[in-house]
């Protein structure tokens, strides 16, 4: 099925965004270690809003995910009856 190719492509793209996002964040965090003690580094890590950093860095995943849902829906749309409640 053509939609299966779309699903596979999306999953692959999302996993690439995921690992690239993690790598970028780790690389940037490790820059904070330059010239500071382990204690100061850990303190600076704790002061960061990691949830927001991760959410922002991986925001494209949600966009791709929703876009793929719409594609899946288009594939079965002829059967969907919007008038039925």
């Amino acid at each position: 099925m053509a939609i299966q190719k779309t699903i596979d492509k999306t999953s692959n793209k999302i996993s690439s965004i995921y690992i690239k996002g993690i790598t970028d964040i780790v690389d940037n965090l490790l820059k904070l270690k330059e010239g500071v003690s382990n204690k100061d580094f850990a303190t600076s890590l704790l002061s960061l809003d990691m949830k927001e950093i991760v959410k922002s860095k991986l925001s494209n995943i949600n966009k791709e995910y929703v876009k793929a849902h719409v594609e899946v829906l288009k594939d079965i749309k002829p059967q969907v009856n919007n008038d039925r409640s």
């Binding site: 996993s15 993690i22 382990n38 990691m50 919007n82």
Partner: protein, 163 residues
Amino acid sequence: MTEAEIQLLIAMDSEVWEAYLPYLAAQMQQQVASGVFAGLTTQQIIANIESAALSASQVETLITTSLNNYSRSVTTAMMEGEPDNTLYQYIGPIDGRTRDICLQMGSAGTITRLEIEKAFGSSVLIYGGGYNCRHKWQSVSEVGVSKNFYNPKKAEELLSGNN
């Protein structure tokens, strides 16, 4: 099935993904700190994050599975409005990755929803054969359009090892 119901299903899938991110963030924070203390390389720290949270391949499986579950959920919801005697058949690729349970359902021929549930349980309507499953039960009229993807004879052959 209404547009609002369809949108709700999409929103719920997004919600599940969003709910995972705070856990990932906490794991990253912890693994980076302990990795630095232990003198690990960047790659080792990333490997530990993938081990403690989801790996890239696990994310791939998660997304594939949830998109297919979404497709099956919409199709199943539409079954609710169809007559009891509507016939369905199990469609999707038949290849070396196809599980035995999917081959069994694929070789069941055209049956009603009640017969599907009696033979295989009701969960197969939404979850198919499990994670990464690429198949679903669909009404015969729809399968008629895509019959190239439905081959019960081939499924039986694979099940009996005569492929």
